[in-house]
Symmetry: C2
Subunit: 165 residues, 2 copies
């Protein structure tokens, strides 16, 4: 079975798919709160208001995948962005492809550190949450509203992750 | 100087001010992702679209306050909710009062655990971020757009936190 290599997650490498939310991502920055806090401003838009929808915050409590987990499907949200904010401090895997017709050969894998969160652009193909070593919580910002906001497709060629275990 | 006691943060106690985002808050829950993830659905609305605004994700990197820190002001956002998603796993303090004319006698203090995040309702008075023991990162969901979205007021009677140090 094809093994998908995981590259380090960075804002540049992830740009075709969405935004990386961490302290390294280049952005406008300025001090607030009497200088006690640095604001890294507007790292990702929340694009969840189409067709009567609105964004909300949910909690995803993910179990870790098994070491031999097989990736068999991908999904995309045609009506909104979806952000996964990592609140457990654990590393996790991200598997994505560009919006449009899914090109399986162009699927990319990333390894996020425990201090990295991400937001998928509307329409970015992605595998569901892949917690690696232990159960992990993510606060999710996504669209709630009428209409179909999840397309799912089976992979013709299932994948395994080449994991750094 | 008046000392503000901190109560444990819970969804019930915080309800007049906003929402608590953690695994304990009662909500609709259901399994997703082939049963690997439990979705705690719609713990908090994102109310950031008034008057030409839109929500975005920013990162707040907060230094810890000094043990003798004096709280001298409160602020509120008349045009939007503001969520602080705790990504560092550290405890922090929350100081709030209900929307409307600020009643200093009714200011309340909460101690959040490292696994608790919160969202302030539009108009809730709050002190700025109060990291306690060490520098801490929060991913913030708030309104970006035209118009004044921050009212600030000086406290007539400054406060100190009664901290569990």
């Amino acid at each position: 079975m094809k093994e998908l290599q995981l590259q380090a997650l960075s804002a540049d490498a992830f740009a075709p798919f969405g935004e990386v939310i961490d302290g390294q991502t280049p952005c406008e920055q300025y001090p607030i709160n009497e200088g006690l806090t640095q604001r890294h401003h507007a790292l990702a838009a929340v694009d969840c208001a189409r067709e009567g929808g609105a964004p909300a915050l949910s909690l995803f409590r993910a179990q870790a995948i098994a070491p031999d987990f097989v990736l068999r499907s991908m999904e995309r949200h045609p009506l909104g962005s979806q952000a996964f904010i990592n609140t457990s401090g654990n590393s996790y895997a991200i598997v994505v492809a560009r919006p449009g017709a899914l090109e399986e050969d162009a699927i990319e894998g990333f390894l996020a550190t425990g201090s990295q969160s991400i937001s998928y652009h509307r329409g970015t193909w992605h595998h569901f949450l892949l917690a690696l070593d232990c159960a992990s919580d993510f606060v999710v910002v996504d669209r709630i509203g009428p209409g179909n906001n999840c397309d799912e497709t089976e992979l013709k060629l299932p994948l395994r992750l080449a994991l750094p275990r």
